[in-house]
């Protein structure tokens, strides 16, 4: 982060409200202490995030006295973009990818820091810490710069940009241990409590948005559950769990046999799908 601030013109921190973003904020506080965090936060709001996430975002960033930019892709939302009407690929493309690229362009940001980790998904294992994007914001896996030692090449031409991932070498377990050790506030959705869900086999579907279609005779029911990762409510399944504290979550994590993105519908819409989304500019 210090390297980004020293060598880039207009850096921004992409704030997704999730646990990794919370960790990033703590690291930023530490990196610039006793100075203040010298860049704004950007949240790309699809309009379909959980209500609890938005509430947490506004409260926590105000507490820390940070500058928050919220960007929503109005036309996409007004066109009636939603994952059931449009399919997940087209919906993500309009509400997340296009929206993010618009927001970066409007703000003139040349470096966007985010909380993505290499252990999250197979295509991310080869991602750089400083990942280069062309003038259209796109990622070419064949044209990335080799990263040697801790020497990061931050040079870009006008219009090009960098995505920077300070948590590249962290694992999900590292993140949770850090949250516990540092007592970092996170969205309550990560903790188990009874919530209204559509239960379909192993999948639990939140019913926050009215357009989530129901099967014949299907009624939402109260299920003891929690979110393992946070995205848009229609595409983020919950997991059955009674882990209502950070230690219990970590204990669950150690025994669990499924990866955290397993409940993210968008990773599985086609083989290699995260890779394709990234090439188009998805974070």
């Amino acid at each position: 982060m210090r390297e980004v601030v020293a060598e880039c013109q207009r850096p921004v921190l992409l704030y997704s409200i999730g646990k990794d973003s919370s960790v990033l904020l703590r690291l930023a506080q530490k990196a610039f202490y006793p100075g203040k965090i010298p860049f704004p936060l950007l949240h790309v709001d699809t309009g379909y995030k959980f209500g609890e996430m938005i509430e947490f975002r506004d409260r926590y960033t105000a507490e820390l006295g940070l500058k928050l930019i919220v960007h929503t892709n109005r036309p996409g939302a007004e066109d009636g973009a939603n994952p059931f009407a449009w399919g997940t690929q087209r919906c993500c493309g309009a509400l997340k990818t296009t929206s993010l690229l618009d927001a970066l362009r409007e703000g003139g940001f040349d470096a966007a820091m985010g909380g993505a980790r290499r252990d999250e998904e197979r295509s991310r294992a080869k991602e750089r810490v400083f990942s280069f994007r062309d003038t259209r914001g796109q990622w070419d896996p064949r044209n990335q710069r080799p990263e040697l030692w801790n020497l990061f090449n931050t040079r870009i031409h006008p219009g090009e940009s960098l995505r920077v991932f300070p948590l590249s070498n962290w694992t999900e377990l590292d993140v949770w241990q850090y949250i516990y050790a540092e007592k970092i506030p996170i969205v309550p959705l990560y903790f188990a409590k009874p919530r209204l869900m559509l239960a379909r086999g192993d999948s639990l579907l939140p019913v926050e948005q009215p357009f989530v279609p129901r099967l014949p005779g299907e009624e939402p029911q109260m299920v003891m559950c929690r979110m393992r990762s946070l995205g848009c409510s229609p595409c983020t399944g919950a997991i059955r769990s009674d882990a209502d504290t950070v230690p219990k979550i970590i204990e669950e994590l150690i025994s669990v046999r499924r990866s955290e993105r397993q409940n993210r519908v968008i990773d599985h819409d086609q083989d290699g799908s995260m890779e394709i989304k990234k090439q188009e500019g998805y974070f």
Partner: protein
């Protein structure tokens, strides 16, 4: 669900304390396409329970098309679609796993000859390298290359995993012969500690547990070795180096220098020298978000404050007084060329070293080194994946250690200013012979409207304390003095001035 009364909170703090005591081992793997390297890594991840069920399902699904039998472990590590289609890995992939004893980061690099670039990249952050040798094929040219690159990049520990032992009937004689052959290569690298282990990645022999198929082997399994081999000692024991990444000035009262300790240890009260200015001072405080520290070691990110107000900027190095770094405008270095566009002698590149960027000129390619034989080879060009010994000159004074002594302050990258591509990795072997003269301290110069103005902090004679700058207008005298100043490496008036100031 059974209500198990588990004292979660109590046992958890113990668990966390143990977790936080775990150290981290970063290692890299080298082997050719058919050595079974991806299978070995997949096996390590699988057997250490670092693979989730849904990931396993997705690779079992994908395996069906390539008519593999059960689980294809190699698919756990082949990330990108293009690679899955071609069946080879083409870039460095990072993998994470942990055991009750240690955390691990694997830099998984393809071993094919044209990917020297990737192997160097993976090795640059690793403390240990695993070299895979196919038991049926024995030591090949590429084994030599892998050992050479490990040595070049300063890797402390080498593990030679002799794989596919199941295909040679778990024969001890095969293992011993390969060990003998490989030790001949290693004789050239006395600094490397080596460990030989016979394995079958596919069958799981000697990967996690010791194999019953090879009772003649009495050493540790691969994982046992990885869990217990000592690492990181060199960087902690090295002299204190702290490249300043950022000057922290939240208000008029506070002035601190933030960065990551590259090597050694620091305590308040330590006498240090600021480079390149060469001024000596004392560490006042080690400031962090969580309070001041009494001591901080290599790898720790801290903000240091100094006892005296000294003008320090990003890129300066705070170093221990006892063991000084070197300071010159020219260095000799080993370069690994990483780009399709070959090296150009005389060209100016951006050089990134520690926390600074500078202009640097590739003065000459002194010799080329064969990756196959490790000997000098004819030719003075450096193309993609070639290695050579070069001389580089920087615009501003360059503060460094030799790579063999200190990886963090002895390494640099070169960037092509036109394309911004990272074109070379450099490891410094010493000051360039022609530029080993120390700059004259306290004397600076600048050009103004054709007049050379010489200034001195102390004055030009002992009697005058703050002398007027000396002005020289006569063209011949000017030319002679300019030549002399350059030879003596007297720095320009403004130390931040770019190379163009040198060219006037």
């Amino acid at each position: 669900m059974a209500a198990v009364a588990s004292p979660v909170e109590n046992s958890f703090d113990e668990f966390l304390a143990l977790e936080q005591k775990k150290d981290l081992l970063r290692f890299t793997t080298a082997g050719s396409v058919d050595d079974g390297k991806s299978t070995l890594i997949g096996r390590l991840l699988y057997d250490s329970r670092s693979v989730y069920d849904d990931q396993l399902e997705s690779v079992t699904k994908a395996s069906a098309g390539r008519n593999a039998g059960t689980i294809d472990f190699s698919l756990l590590t082949d990330g990108l679609r293009a690679e899955r289609e071609q069946g080879i890995t083409i870039d460095v992939a990072y993998r994470y796993f942990s055991t009750p004893k240690r955390k691990f980061i694997i830099a998984d690099t393809p071993g094919h000859e044209q990917y020297t670039r990737n192997m160097v990249t993976g090795a640059s952050t690793a403390e240990l390298a695993i070299v895979l040798v196919d038991a049926r094929k024995g030591v090949l040219e590429q084994s030599r290359r892998h050992a050479y690159i490990a040595g070049l990049l300063g890797i402390e520990q080498l593990v030679i995993a002799i794989n596919k032992m199941d295909l040679v009937g778990y024969d001890e004689a095969v293992f011993r012969q390969i060990e003998t052959d490989f030790r001949k290569i290693l004789a050239r690298f006395p600094a490397i500690e080596s460990y030989f282990v016979p394995v079958s990645a596919l069958a799981g022999d000697n990967i996690v547990a010791r194999s019953r198929n090879m009772p003649w082997f009495e050493g540790q399994s691969l994982l046992e070795h990885l869990e217990t081999v000592p690492v990181g000692g060199r960087v902690r024991a090295a002299a204190f180096r702290f490249p300043v990444q950022r000057v922290v000035r939240p208000d008029q009262e506070f002035r601190g220098y933030a960065g990551t300790i590259a090597s050694g240890t620091v305590r308040p009260g330590d006498r240090v020298v600021i480079w390149p200015s060469g001024r000596e001072t004392t560490i006042a405080r080690i400031v962090t978000f969580d309070g001041d520290l009494e001591k901080a070691e290599a790898g720790k990110s801290v903000t240091l404050t100094l006892a005296q107000e000294i003008d320090l900027s990003r890129g300066d190095v705070i170093a221990s007084r006892e063991e000084a770094p070197q300071k010159t405008h020219g260095v000799e270095a080993t370069l690994v060329w990483l780009n399709e566009k070959p090296a150009e002698v005389g060209k100016r590149y951006r050089l990134k070293h520690a926390a600074r960027q500078d202009w640097a000129t590739l003065k000459q390619i002194d010799r080329r080194i064969s990756v196959q034989t490790l000997d000098e080879e004819p030719g003075h060009a450096l193309e993609l994946n070639a290695i050579g010994q070069v001389t580089i000159e920087t615009a501003r004074a360059f503060v460094f250690d030799n790579y063999a002594r200190n990886r963090a302050t002895g390494s640099f990258i070169l960037i092509d200013p036109a394309t911004n591509a990272t074109v070379a990795a450099g490891m410094i072997s010493g000051a360039a012979k022609s530029s080993a003269i120390e700059p004259l301290a306290g004397i600076s110069w600048r050009m103004e409207n054709g007049t050379l103005i010489l200034a001195s902090e102390e004055g030009f004679t002992a009697s005058e304390k703050s002398a007027e700058p000396l002005q020289i207008e006569d063209p011949e005298a000017l030319e002679a003095l300019r030549h002399l100043l350059r030879r003596l490496r007297v720095r320009p008036f403004n130390t931040d001035s770019s190379e163009s100031d040198w060219e006037i």
